[in-house]
């Protein structure tokens, strides 16, 4: 019939005739790939067993989840006064994200100079600053929130400080990398015309990196809006407090309303921040 079916009918013949150029396989590589895949799969199965996964539990849970999803519809805050409370909490969340990110940037900016290779010549300070950033980054926002609650008490202020602390590490790393990637020519120009080291940094490096930093800060405000929604779970202000409360009291319609609010707020912030970033550094780097 067609050429294709002829080929397929004679597959074993084709294989035999072209054995020297095709269908050879690479036994060593295949064995290696299979070995790695087997190890990964084995660890996965071991994990499933150790973490007490069982078919019955999954089926039961899925049933429960379906029930919950059904009870979530339609999303509703119940009464208007509740809706106002939730809106205020959402505002608090946005304020936490905004302030926390900005404070982190303000603190990280001067510190980043110590970590940048082309600004700070002292290797040991550079190394220590970097490890400091790594350590701060290794601690999750929620943990920082718990620590700050112990220090300044429950409320959104603890949330601001938590977001700030967890972002100092990230910003320090990003900012110092931006400084290291800056073009050397302006710096050399300033040094050549008799400028001091401080002037070289101020007029040679800072103007180059400022737009980049601004766009990074905007991006983090966006992603911190998401983090700020959850720190309320441990009592550090914002909408997370209501969310966890409504989940614990099984008020599913409220839960879905709150999730919907978060989704809409994040989408709006997303839109605004990408617009601003677009206008700051142009379409290329967004």
């Amino acid at each position: 019939m067609t050429r294709r079916s002829e080929l397929f009918d004679d597959l074993s013949g084709v294989r035999k005739r072209h054995a020297d150029t095709h269908f050879k396989g690479r036994p060593l590589e295949t064995a290696k790939a299979l070995g790695i895949a087997g190890l990964l799969a084995g660890l996965f199965v071991y994990g499933l067993i150790t973490l007490e996964f069982s078919l019955g539990r999954i089926i039961d849970g899925m049933g429960g989840l379906g029930l919950i999803a059904g009870m979530m519809l339609p999303p509703s805050p119940g009464t208007w006064s509740k809706a106002v409370v939730y809106l205020h909490a959402l505002g608090e969340t946005l304020a936490i994200a905004f302030l926390g990110t900005l404070l982190a940037a303000v603190v990280a900016f001067p510190l980043a100079f110590f970590a940048a290779r082309n600004v700070n010549g002292v290797r040991i300070i550079q190394f220590l600053t970097r490890r400091g950033f790594d350590t701060i980054r290794g601690v999750d926002t929620l943990i920082w929130a718990l620590v700050w609650i112990n220090v300044v008490g429950l409320g959104p202020f603890a949330g601001v400080l938590a977001i700030m602390c967890s972002d100092i590490g990230a910003f320090g790393k990003l900012f110092s990398e931006a400084m290291e990637a800056a073009d050397r020519k302006p710096v050399e120009g300033i040094t050549a015309s008799g400028g001091s080291r401080v002037q070289a940094v101020r007029f040679g490096i800072v103007p180059q990196i400022l737009p980049l930093l601004a766009s990074q800060v905007l991006y983090y405000i966006e992603s911190n809006t998401r983090s700020a929604t959850i720190i309320g779970i441990v009592g550090a202000g914002g909408i997370g407090l209501h969310l966890s409360e409504q989940i614990r009291t099984l008020e599913w319609q409220h839960v879905s309303f709150l999730i919907l609010m978060i989704l809409v707020a994040v989408a709006i912030i997303d839109r605004i921040s990408s617009r601003l970033r677009f206008s700051i550094i142009g379409p290329r780097a967004v």
């Binding site: 304020a95 790594d134 601690v139 999750d140 718990l146 959104p156 441990v234 839960v255």
Partner: protein, 294 residues
């Protein structure tokens, strides 16, 4: 060092300075406008978030105090004086840390498999149907935007306490985050192999399997490793809401003010995260290296 560059005569330099001033005036105005708006927003946000500099100043000492207490045993001695006492629960904590890593691993694998299944449907170059692409993308967006700890809270109600809801929450969030990245990789592939398979009469599955997958696999593995790193941090706090791992013990020691336990567990988490970071980075470099060699 004496200056060897003599200044320009005032008449000339004034003209130059004026030109410079005109050139930067626009940018200065824009910057001032931006700064004013930011300041206004800060004031509003500060009011909403109940920021209180006085309280902060008064409590800043507390923070130092807190850090100091983290470094003290119950007897008041420095933690370094008796490391055995400091890490008294090491075997229990290591077991919990291993559980945390397993939660992150199993969750990542599930999420990667799910993202793999979704990403081809969510990429415009392989899926003709607009509706399918749109639906797949919305599902990914939803599971990416809802924080994993919120999923964990809900799953704890549905599946009961323990690591199972934690794994599922990590998996769902990973599905969303990686699905988007995977789809972007798929949309940037070379379409010639896919067209070749299509021209030879291959079905949609053969086109994906032999045309697309070989091109994207190493990229996917790199993203998967990166995600595993992030998920280890995420899994460490799953215990805060009862979803398994070391978080439960940590939150209890913080709430009950067992300072030396808090510092020991935090140290354990930080060191583990750093080790995992280094390992995955080395692995990713090897992956990229083997990619370039072949």
């Amino acid at each position: 060092m004496s200056s060897t560059v003599s200044g320009l005569p005032p008449a000339q330099s004034a003209a130059l300075l004026r030109a410079y001033g005109d050139a930067v005036a626009v940018e200065r105005r824009r910057f001032a406008l931006g700064a004013t708006i930011t300041l206004l927003l800060v004031l509003i946000a500060g009011r909403v978030a109940e920021v209180d500099p006085v309280k902060f100043g008064a409590n800043l000492g507390n923070f130092g105090d807190y850090l100091y207490r983290l470094s003290r045993l119950e007897t008041g001695a420095s933690v370094l004086s008796d490391p055995a006492e400091w890490f008294w629960g090491l075997s229990k904590w290591l077991r919990l840390m291993a559980e945390t890593l397993l939660i992150a691993y199993v969750g990542t694998v599930m999420g990667v498999l799910g993202a793999f299944a979704f990403c081809f449907a969510a990429s415009r170059n392989l899926t003709r149907s607009r509706l399918v692409v749109w639906t797949a993308r919305r599902i990914l967006e939803f599971s990416r935007t809802v924080p994993e700890i919120v999923f964990a809270l809900i799953f704890v109600v549905a599946f009961g306490l323990g690591p199972v809801p934690g794994v599922l929450a990590v998996a769902l969030h990973t599905l969303g985050a990686l699905g988007k990245l995977f789809a972007e990789v798929v949309e940037n592939i070379d379409m010639k192999p896919v067209e070749g398979v299509a021209a030879a009469g291959g079905s949609w599955f053969s086109q994906v399997r032999f045309g697309a997958v070989p091109q994207v696999l190493s990229n996917f593995a790199g993203y998967g490793l990166l995600r595993f790193e992030i998920n280890v941090r995420g899994a460490a706090v799953m215990g805060f809401v009862g979803a398994g791992g070391i978080g439960q013990t940590l939150v209890e020691s913080i709430r009950k003010f067992y300072y030396s336990d808090v510092s020991a567990i935090l140290l354990l988490i930080i060191v583990t995260v750093m080790i995992i970071d280094h390992l995955t980075e080395a692995l990713r470099h090897r992956l990229i290296g083997s990619e370039e060699r072949s």
